[in-house]
Point group: C2
């Protein structure tokens, strides 16, 4: 019954509760070799479908749904949700966003589970292709922004290969890589503190560690897909890898090595990759903009220990750099601080609740 | 009459046409020393004002308006525009966004002109403070995202110093640094092409050149505030500065120098800053998401010449990295290509016009 657990995990309760026998039938039929009609998957053929005109081409709207809160959708994506003929959503599109889809609109949610991501992606793209060729407006709804680790570029390329490049519209979304810091009260660029922000991944291709970014004092770095290997990542940021050590030994004289040993390695500009000081402020931000948002504020020295002790609540990301303390002053003697809950998006003037600040404790 | 030219440049025609004698009176009165009532500027006291209750505290919503197109507002910011008691907008907030403001809502637009930015910022903050203390909901509307070069962090700090930190809500916006590449069909991260994106400024503090970011093959770099000094920027990216040359000479033996001369400098990992190859693809994107959007696609070798010949249409930014050619294949023998016009946000199904693709010519 692993599939049942996965369905329960990925689909919101409201959607599960609304499933009918016909839906189940359609989903089962959509799997290859189980009796699906020739011409493609049938799961999205719902009651609201219009009969397309002959020779009419539809279009694909590739849109980002933002980090979680439905009010963080752009107006353009919201309009697309309201008007699309079919919606093909990625697994991680937040429930609050899915709730905005009109009941008449057929929705497919990617069947992405570990080891199946590529196949699930192909399946959605084939469904989208069928829809466009049938003259429909297909909304490919992705989390965050479609071009920031969203495989959006691959989808554009796919439709071009099919001669349908002109039918694709791409809409940006609020990316969690920049909005999660914002909701944690961290301005990634702040005068006199940070003048640049690097968004990168903590996990490389095939799980291999990517080349760690060098330390730049005025840089804020946002690491996505990094929390499950936080200890390794911190080690790479704050010390040379074995490979680097070897390269350095080969390229430098003994005298230089001896000299280097006298000064902290991150103070040798231009020699090797500049290392991140262990006292660099950082923050782990999980489920940004959702009611169960959590922020752990600490430094590179303690972040792995903090995550080990506090546990992990994916999805989350790591922000590193002095900007983490631009609006936050850590309490002396504490290795880390945990802030639970999301404050600061409820604009409902009538309710008067949940207004709060940007959710920052411990300020100066 | 320089002030008149500036007003005409910064304010949309619709707003200018709607100005009444009373508005002019109020604006003039709001300047210090010209008869403003004690208790602060009067320019935002419009017809829609409610009388605040005694002791009631309002709030400040610090929100980003996105890159230009009004449909790129988030739903949260749109709601804030519809419900705020007062709106204090930055100069560059797009006209299409200002048009969404209800007529009853008093609006101030920052009087930022060269040499006056800090004073204009202070003025807006003081107006906001008066509004909050009077129990009003004040919307500080900024272009793009308030925490990406938007001075948003400084504004949060300002209200905290006044003991009003809890009254501040920060809303993210679509930043042009990531959406301009998207609208030019450039996915800043694309599998097998780029796994990281760096947003930085091409102009440092007090006009000084910032330290140029080193070359990383899998990195996309977005340079803001760079086009007016494009030649200098390209020189810094593709060759060592005099200072670096000197530092290198002091730190290396003549033998090493001689060896280094044999291999291209960007192929020497770990020695000095890695330089950007001149054939690195890049794109200049101006007025992203606006009807007069323009994209110039070229390489670092030709970008300065291209801008010189084609002219500059601010605001614009420079994107550098292999991602610029992820969905675009340059025409052989051409040094650069210019694409005019914005395609790809009109979701009005009825009109059926302006749908287009992501605006990419010359694709493979």
């Amino acid at each position: 019954m692993r599939w049942l657990a996965q369905v329960c995990e990925y689909w919101p309760l409201k959607r599960l509760a609304a499933i009918t026998d016909a839906d189940v039938e359609a989903v089962l039929k959509s799997y290859p070799g189980t009796g699906a009609a020739a011409g493609g998957p049938a799961s999205w053929r719902g009651a609201g479908d219009k009969l397309p005109g002959h020779g009419q081409t539809g279009r694909v709207i590739l849109a980002g749904s933002g980090p979680g809160h439905p009010d963080l959708l752009t107006r353009a994506t919201y309009k697309a949700i309201q008007t699309a003929d079919i919606i093909l959503a990625d697994k991680l599109v937040p429930a609050g966003v899915l709730d905005l889809i009109p009941r008449r609109t057929p929705v497919s949610i990617a069947r992405k589970f570990p080891g199946n991501a590529d196949r699930a992606q192909e399946e959605l793209l084939e469904q989208a292709l069928d829809g466009v060729r049938a003259g429909k407006t297909v909304l490919r709804l992705k989390q965050g922004d479609p071009f920031i680790y969203g495989r959006g570029g691959e989808e554009v390329a796919f439709f071009r290969e099919k001669g349908l490049g002109d039918c694709v519209v791409v809409l940006p979304g609020i990316t969690s890589s920049l909005s999660a810091p914002l909701f944690a009260g961290i301005p990634p660029t702040q005068r006199d503190v940070a003048d640049q922000v690097l968004v990168c991944t903590g996990t490389g291709k095939k799980g291999k560690a990517p080349q760690p970014p060098e330390y730049v004092e005025s840089r804020t770095v946002v690491f996505l897909m990094a929390l499950h290997r936080i200890e390794g990542l911190v080690a790479e940021l704050t010390a040379y890898t074995d490979e680097e050590e070897q390269r350095a030994r080969e390229g430098r004289s003994q005298t230089e090595e001896a000299e280097a040993a006298q000064t902290p390695s991150h103070q040798q500009p231009g020699k090797r990759r500049t290392l991140w000081p262990l006292n660099t402020p950082c923050a782990v931000i999980e489920r940004a903009s959702c009611p169960d948002q959590r922020v752990i504020r600490t430094t590179l020295r303690f972040v792995a220990e903090a995550i080990e002790q506090e546990g992990s609540r994916p999805p989350g990301l790591l922000v590193v750099g002095r900007a983490c303390e631009a609006l936050y002053t850590p309490e002396k003697g504490r290795s880390w601080a945990v802030e639970d809950g999301f404050k600061g998006l409820d604009l409902d003037v009538e309710s008067g609740v949940g207004i709060g600040g940007v959710g920052i404790a411990g300020m100066a």
